[in-house]
């Protein structure tokens, strides 16, 4: 089957590679550099499995900038363009999806379009009615950054938002591409599938906030948070995973998905959804005050990435702490080897660790990494288990 994939970010690229194991895939992006890299077998993002599969060269995959090449003759078009959360409209900006749909309909009106980008609950159904097009289904993406292809090769479940033969066909494509045999498949109604994505990520945001609030309480009450968490997580109803305190939940999905869900609730009575969103800022405010209590002259910020293995700074929790420390008049210096600019938000970026640690009298780190071992007495972290 010929499949087109629109967008070469985490979601698009991992889906393109996944599907190119059994189908002919043409991926399209608006960035020439990404297209060239993919055609040269080089991954434009940090992801072990993506790099391996691209390097092997056994895939039926090519990338292009040309919509005609990509969409002509494609039976299925996977849409994986970015939908950033707009804090003014309180909704995802879905314009990139709609632009793709318009182009596809102009070139290949019969193609079935599968939206993989995260969208507000109810989006696909409304869009179908508004533009009078029935060929659009939503299928949520559950991958983690840095493990994008791995998570698609070993999916926890495949969800497609249409209970129909073609919904089953889309699910079949994804299941056929997975390496596991027993992947659960759920065909649901459209808005339900969109809600699944938002509610799953918001649950995880709640879990992160729960352990962060526990840690906040423990810090303020002289209770050992490590003992408490280790004991608590022996309870199988809680589980020993995803429980390491941090500066807040961050990354590409959790902050924006929880905000989008809260906006979707609109007039539906709720208390917890709001608390999950508010909890994150309260945590950062509390930690900022804890840092200020130590009266540092120069605070060193160790890494802007959200977690070890991440290659971007999108919505990382430490950025809000930087803003708050800056507002309190603290001098800041940033250590971030993957930063290509000499400054970030007006603060100097140092790529030499020795120079960085000499200048800072307190180093804040969302996650402990081996390079911090020599300066451990300067480090402020809430990473209790040395894990992501």
């Amino acid at each position: 089957m010929k499949i087109a994939v629109a967008g070469l970010g985490y979601v698009g690229l991992s889906n393109a590679i996944l599907l190119a194991r059994h189908n002919t895939v043409c991926a399209i992006d608006i960035t020439a550099e990404r297209v060239e890299m993919v055609n040269a077998g080089i991954s434009p993002i940090v992801d072990t499995e993506i790099s391996e599969y691209l390097a092997k060269g056994t895939l039926s995959l090519r990338a292009t900038l040309d919509p005609q090449v990509a969409y002509k003759g494609a039976e299925v078009v996977i849409i994986a363009t970015p939908t950033n959360y707009d804090s003014e409209t309180h909704a995802f900006d879905t314009s990139s999806i709609e632009a793709v749909i318009e182009t596809v309909r102009g070139i290949n009106p019969k193609a079935l379009m599968v939206i993989k980008s995260t969208v507000p609950a109810g989006y696909t159904e409304k869009l179908r009615q508004r533009i009078g097009c029935d060929n659009i289904v939503f299928s949520p993406e559950f991958l983690r950054e840095g493990r994008a292809l791995y998570d698609n090769l070993h999916p926890s479940r495949i969800v497609v938002g249409e209970v129909s033969d073609r919904g089953a066909m889309v699910a079949g494509l994804l299941r056929e591409a997975a390496l596991d045999d027993d992947v659960p498949v759920l065909l649901t109604d459209s808005t339900e599938a969109e809600a699944i994505k938002l509610f799953a990520n918001t649950y995880l945001a709640m879990r992160v906030s729960f352990f962060n609030e526990l840690d906040t309480i423990a810090m303020a009450s002289h209770i050992d948070p490590r003992e408490l968490i280790e004991g608590l997580c022996l309870d199988p109803n809680v589980g020993d995973h995803y429980n390491n305190p941090s500066f807040g939940y961050g990354g590409y999905c959790l902050p924006k998905d929880s905000k989008q869900l809260l906006a979707n609730f609109a007039n539906v009575p709720q208390e917890l959804m709001c608390a999950i969103v508010d909890a994150n800022d309260a945590r950062k405010q509390f930690l900022t005050e804890e840092i200020l209590k130590r009266r540092p002259k120069t605070v060193g910020v160790h890494r802007l990435v959200m977690k070890a293995g991440s290659d971007n700074f999108r919505e990382s929790a430490v950025q809000d702490i930087i803003t708050k420390l800056d507002a309190a008049g603290v001098e800041l210096i940033i250590y971030e080897p993957s930063c290509t600019t000499p400054s970030f938000k007006g603060h100097r970026v140092e790529t030499d660790f020795q120079k960085f640690s000499d200048k800072a009298d307190l180093i804040i780190a969302n996650r402990l990494t081996p390079d911090l071992a020599d300066v451990a007495d300067k480090v402020f972290t809430r990473d209790l288990f040395k894990a992501n």
């Binding site: 609950a121 109810g122 949520p140 559950f142 926890s156 479940r157 969800v159 659960p184 759920l186 649901t188 109604d189 808005t191 339900e192 599938a193 809600a195 699944i196 509610f199 799953a200 649950y203 995880l204 709640m206 879990r207 906030s209 729960f210 609030e213 526990l214 906040t216 309480i217 303020a220 009450s221 209770i223 050992d224 003992e227 408490l228 280790e230 004991g231 608590l232 022996l234 309870d235 199988p236 109803n237 809680v238 589980g239 995973h241 979707n264 007039n267 539906v268 009575p269 709720q270 208390e271 917890l272 959804m273 709001c274 608390a275 999950i276 508010d278 909890a279 309260a282 945590r283 405010q285």
Partner: protein, 377 residues
Amino acid sequence: MRIAIIGLGYVAISDALALARTHDVVITGPVPNRVDAVNAGSFPLLDPSVADYVANNPLSLRATLNTAEALDGAELVLISAPLAMDVDNGSTSTTELESRIEMAHHRCPGVPIVVRSAVPIGFTNRMRTELNSRAILYSPEFLREAQSLQDALAMSFLIVGDRGDLGSKVGAVMLSAAQRPGVKMRLMGASEAESVKHFSQAYLAARVAYFNELDSYALAKGLNSRQVIDGVCLDPRIGTYANNPCFGYGGQRMPRSMNHLNNAFGGIPAHVLPTVTHPNRSRIALLVSKIMESAPRQIGIYSPNGKVSARDPLSALRARLIAQGATVCTYTGRKSKDGSELAQFKTDCDVILAQRITPELMDCRAKVFSRDLYALA
């Protein structure tokens, strides 16, 4: 080892049964009919597995009304006591528990005393100071009342609130209650162990509240709630347990734990934890509006296990419905021989509110308003 257990509630009796396989256990409390029942071998537990367990395991267990006699010669004392919660200010009265600890402390100096009741955070350290004794420990229980003995026998983990040798020794005895190998034991500070108990309740409360809010959303937007929950819970980090919506959480334990946390940590910046203390308000408001949509003439509340307690969400639901002008009656499970009571209830009501759908409601399924999405087909 000679073990004395003070208390005759389901935790005390389950502990006693589980430990009496390998130890000489004497259980005591001021309730004559319970003492008699234990001595007659008919144990007053809801857990249906008791009879089978007692028939298949030789036990060294007797009960007495005389606490002093129970304590004589004891090498380990376990104490449970009802903790009365003041609904208005959320505080818990530990008076009864304290007097039991003091008595054990004076009758059995130096003998380890293990508190099993879900005490407020800081309680154990306060008792240690007041009685000038290190031998008072807290070890949380995680027994569900309806299967308390099975839970005691199948424990997968044990927490003991003492980091030293005493904790190890007491833990070794407590482990002998388990009928399975590989129980994970964790020693920790007394306040940490107390906190584990309450945070465990809080996590469950947050989870229940979360799926209820998800369900409110689905209900308000006309979505298939079950589809959404199924899709969410297939994430292994979320899991498929404890996800069936209800009208709101009730009972004693969760609200009590939430109150302990609020009292211990009031003023600390938190949002999720304080919210799960009172998660039911908005839920109840939405449910009331949904129930009233059909303008019911007579609403019935189905409470088959007895009266609706003040802390039961059904109670809040009833009050709100009455405030909206609805006529509400309650079925409390009182069985007349011919079953006419329930039959009359079903006839009289045009809407029946049920937290959980039971087989006896199946013949009037169309009248039942429930958020039980995983009920019998």
